[in-house]
Amino acid sequence: MIDRHFDEELKDLKSDLLKIAAMTEEAIHRSIEALNARDKEAALGVISDDEKIDQLELKIDEQVVDLLARRQPIAADLRFLLTAMKINTQLERIADLAVNIAQRVVLELADLPLIKLQGDIPRLAGIAQKTVRQAIDAFVNHDETLAKGVILADEEADELRNAIQRELIDEYIVKDPALAPRAVALLLVARHFERICDHATNIAEDVIYMVHAEVVKHRPEALEDFDGEQSS
């Protein structure tokens, strides 16, 4: 096999993708910490640091365009670059959602008493963190099975968000409208975590395309075909 200079360039790109992934995971983690502690300063830190993620997203986009133009890749190389571009966008959106969560802390939640919530925002937050981590691992390791697991876990996140939403509306907003600002802020937080899970699902779908050249997005029946087989 020939060592291609192109492979070095792909390695550099992958390294930057792992960097933005790490920064995004860190942003989620810090936003959860700020939420749990109702810490406005910590939340403001998440918001201000988002700019670094944005700049890295732009850099990665440029790298991909440059490689597409100069190398005219095909087959697995082409699929990797297309996936890299999509994952780059997904990670930046996830980081934006972490910012949105932090903004709820700053604007509403830090200054108001806690609502005792039966529903499980911490559990939803945990699912969001886990699915993002697993989606990134699936990308790094070309692991279709792990990617499939991420896609299947999205349903649990949706159900949990729906349950939290029902509780916030029925038990708080309807019964005591004075609690509405806090309840709505928490409703949005739950929505943001659920959207993070959606983006993790998108990353996992893109990984399956990258590895297997099969499009499973919008095609739940196609997921049946991925059952523990890893591509070379």
């Binding site: 020939i2 005219q72 095909i74 087959a75 082409l78």
Partner: protein, 251 residues
């Protein structure tokens, strides 16, 4: 879709050396098939088998069948001259005759029995138009073909092949000696010509195969490794070895 050319368990030998091994492939009417593969893989040999150009090399032998419209072209009694009229060929290095532009085209017509001046003139113009060369040469048909640029000479060779009304065009790296602009013109021409002809093109240029062909055949060491839809082959090849070749990991 109608099959124009069909090789079945086709083997070809240069003396004791087997250059093609059990090639079975179907090429449809009016499609463009690209043939890719590393040097020495047999792709040009295969191309030349389709119009029996290899016959002129001493010591060669073919086994299996090569059907054109259902008839085995290696059967006894096949008129090879007529075969080569029906199956035109364009080579890597353009080879216009040392004649005028007009006579380069008219020559083929005349030796095929078309001598009426008006008919010859009309057919010369048509061939040059079909090869997208007419506008560039119409005012200098009496000039030597060697006055033309490399890309124009190649289009003249294509026009020459078209003049005798072939059904198939074989192209052996037709643009590899040309600059990017001339290459683009040849590739555009191929897209036009496929309306009327079946085209088989051998190319070293992966991107060219991707641009011009509907299906691509990958040859290696005399064998047909993979053959299929060009888009699929270049995004998701079935065989690992195809992937390695087309991504430049070997060859």
């Amino acid at each position: 879709m109608e099959i124009k050319i069909k090789a079945e368990h086709f083997n070809f030998f240069y003396g004791a050396e087997q250059a093609l091994k059990e090639i079975s492939i179907e090429i449809r009417r009016n499609e463009v098939v690209g043939i890719i593969g590393p040097s020495g893989c047999g792709k040009s040999t295969f191309l030349r088998c389709i119009n029996r150009m290899n016959d002129i090399i001493a010591g060669t032998r073919a086994e299996g069948t090569m059907l054109m419209d259902g008839t085995d072209i290696y059967e006894k009694g096949i008129d090879v001259v007529e075969l080569r009229r029906k199956v035109g060929m364009v080579f890597q290095k353009s080879n216009p005759f040392p004649k005028s532009i007009f006579d380069n085209i008219a020559y083929g017509l005349r030796i095929n029995g078309i001598t009426d001046k008006r008919t010859v003139t009309e057919k010369v113009e048509k061939s040059l138009r079909d090869a997208a060369l007419w506008e560039e040469v119409k005012d200098r048909l009496a000039h030597s073909a060697f006055d033309l640029s490399g890309g124009q000479q190649q289009r003249l060779c294509i026009a020459r092949a078209l003049a005798v009304e072939p059904e198939v065009l074989l192209m052996d790296e037709p643009a590899s000696a040309l600059d990017p602009t001339a290459t683009a013109k040849i590739e555009e021409l191929i897209q036009e010509l496929k309306r009327d002809y079946t085209i088989v093109i051998v190319t070293h240029n992966m991107q060219q195969a991707a641009r011009v062909s509907e299906r691509t055949a990958f040859f290696m060491l005399g064998e047909l490794i993979e053959f299929g839809d060009t888009g699929t082959m270049f995004t998701k090849p079935a065989k690992a070895i195809t992937e390695e070749y087309i991504t430049g990991r070997f060859g």
